[in-house]
């Protein structure tokens, strides 16, 4: 009995570890290819590059405005994250703490917006921003990302867990809603704010369709758009394309390692509702 349990455990470990290696291999292969000059032109690069070099990265940053592109991605992601934190937190407070007529209906409308795919909005959004003269501007790329129904829902859930007795104590001390919001509720939902911040940043960093439609000039483009363009331009120079991929993965990887707890927790909680 013991022996079979032990044997089973070893097999299970072996299978799960082998699976993890297979899952990880594409990342490894991306890095190896980016370090193999001329990859893709002749043959498949070797698993361990013999004459590796940073040529592909040099090409990326000298021939293309890649530094600028990275700056764009970082800038847009930071603004999106900050604005989403503000708009989500204030709305969540209204739905969690303020009594007003039609609250349930308004909250329902907010939630319903989550079901509307961006694709449905592409044409009118494009026309609207064109009328405002915002096509091919950072602001045009940013505006539609400013409110997040997901963020509002997430923060409202967190705020509902904060005891209302704390509000009452603050009210007795003469605090109004803005003080309660800032000094009582917000400090108590830090983990949820962190989760939202990570998802907002990730969402902006990885977003594709809307930036593709709005940002036309090469110097305004974000990483995913530039990468898609790179693919058309360097059809067979896989080392350059993979170098671009590495550059776009690394910051997310750093954020993920740093904030893994909030990312996984956020996803896990989403499924438990």
């Amino acid at each position: 009995m013991r022996e079979t349990t032990r044997g089973r455990s070893i097999v299970l470990h072996a299978v799960v570890i082998a699976g993890a290696l297979v899952m990880f291999f594409p990342f490894y292969w991306t890095v190896v290819t980016s370090l193999s000059p001329g990859a893709g032109l002749s043959a498949t690069p070797s698993l361990w590059p013999a004459d590796s070099g940073l040529d592909a990265y040099r090409e990326l940053f000298t021939e293309l405005p890649f530094a600028r592109v990275i700056g764009n991605s970082i800038g847009l992601a930071i603004v999106t994250t900050l604005v989403q934190l503000i708009t989500s937190a204030t709305a969540a407070y209204a739905f969690s703490r303020l009594a007003f007529r039609g609250r349930t209906v308004v909250f329902g409308v907010y939630l319903a917006t989550m079901m509307i795919p961006l694709q449905v909005l592409i044409v009118p959004l494009f026309a609207e921003l064109k009328a405002f003269g915002l096509i091919d501007t950072y602001l045009g790329a940013l505006l539609p990302t400013f409110a997040s129904a997901f963020g509002i829902f997430l923060l409202r859930q967190a705020m509902n867990q904060v005891p209302f007795e704390l509000d009452e104590a603050a009210t007795l001390d003469g605090a109004g809603h803005f003080r309660i919001f800032w000094t009582v509720v917000l400090p108590n939902i830090r983990p949820a704010l962190a989760t939202l911040a990570v998802f907002a940043f990730m969402g902006s960093w990885n977003s594709f369709l809307w930036p593709l439609v709005v940002l036309r000039s090469p110097e305004l483009q974000t990483l995913p758009i530039a990468l898609a363009g790179l693919q058309g331009q360097y059809t067979t120079q896989w080392d350059v394309i993979m170098a671009g991929s590495v550059v776009s993965i690394l910051p997310m990887l750093a954020l993920y390692v740093f904030a893994q707890k909030y990312v996984i927790q956020g996803v896990a909680n989403a499924g438990l509702k």
Partner: protein
């Protein structure tokens, strides 16, 4: 758009404390001051939602009733766009391709994610590291995923076909072959989302009371029996969530298709959203594109409502 921008099916009702009830008790006279406070808290989110979601949503419905190329003044055509779309075999083809994608993708990520979650839910060494590795592709952008897989599955010198060749197998043309293009996209997509599904199901498994499983064990139920009769029913809320989200995201599939095949070869992977994009920006038929996106929205809405209705039959909320 991120994967989790979708509402959970059931909104839990938080137990209300006396303080909660006092705070939310409707009062007759709250005065203009209170109204201003409410407006101040709602305005930052209401403005973008109205201007960039609800407004465009209505506008899309209006545009779908016109013929418009984004430049010249729009011309009113009534329901012609819808009639044209429904009579066009291309429309049925793009929906069929999208369903093909879903039919391949959903079982792969669900059963793959379930197997992993079950494995990681046991006393496994290095569990959190393994979970971290499996989750890694989730934080990678669809474009990177598509590009990397185009390279892995490159027919001439990609690593997959090179490996197959060492075993004497002549690998297929993958994304360059109409028959293999969709499977290539499905494979890449499943790789990206497997960790996401795994984490949701793992959280569901960890929420199951171990005593229930132990009780079944005492009653002599084997591993498979416990899985089917105890674990799966208790996991059904998580399963439901995964299915709802995957279907919504599946119908909206675009980024990876755009970057891997652009809808080709020969239109073999032309999905609904790729068609919306092409109609708008390649063929200048914004009206028809809006009609098609509304059709897509209605399909997603119908499928989601059907699932929420049908959940009573198989989803157990403890």
């Amino acid at each position: 758009m991120s994967v989790i921008t979708t509402p959970p099916a059931a909104i839990p009702i938080v137990a209300e404390s006396p303080a909660t009830r006092r705070a939310l008790r409707p009062r007759r006279r709250r005065g203009i001051r209170h109204t201003l406070v409410v407006v101040a808290f709602l305005l930052p989110s209401a403005l973008p939602l109205v201007f960039f979601v609800l407004g465009p949503m209505v506008a899309a419905a209006v545009i779908s009733l016109t013929e418009w190329n984004l430049l010249a003044p729009a011309e009113w055509v009534g329901l012609d766009n819808y009639a044209n779309l429904l009579g066009d075999p291309a429309t049925w083809a793009v929906f069929a391709h999208t369903l093909y994608y879903i039919a391949g993708y959903l079982p792969l990520v669900y059963f793959g994610g379930l197997a992993l979650a079950l494995a990681l839910n046991t006393a496994l060494k290095g569990r959190s590291l393994l979970r971290g590795v499996y989750f890694l592709p989730v934080v990678t952008s669809w474009i990177v995923v598509a590009i990397v897989w185009r390279w892995l599955l490159n027919p001439s010198n990609g690593i997959v076909n090179a490996t197959l060749a060492t075993f004497g197998i002549d690998g297929p043309g993958w994304w360059t072959d109409p028959a293999w293009a969709m499977p290539s996209i499905i494979l890449a997509s499943a790789w990206k989302d497997l960790g996401f599904v795994m984490v949701i199901l793992l959280a569901g498994l960890q929420a199951i009371d171990p005593e229930l499983v132990d009780a079944a064990k005492v009653d002599g139920a084997g591993w498979w029996r416990r899985l089917v009769s105890v674990v799966m029913p208790l996991l059904s809320p998580s399963t439901f969530f995964v299915v709802v989200i995957s279907l919504i995201n599946g119908f909206q599939v675009f980024d990876q298709v755009y970057a891997m095949t652009g809808g080709g070869p020969g239109g073999a992977t032309q999905v609904v959203v790729q068609q919306v994009y092409d109609l708008t920006f390649r063929y200048g038929s914004a009206g028809e594109a809006s009609a098609l996106s509304w059709l897509l929205f209605l399909v997603i809405l119908a499928v989601t409502v059907m699932q929420v209705r049908g959940q009573r039959k198989w989803v157990n909320y403890a």
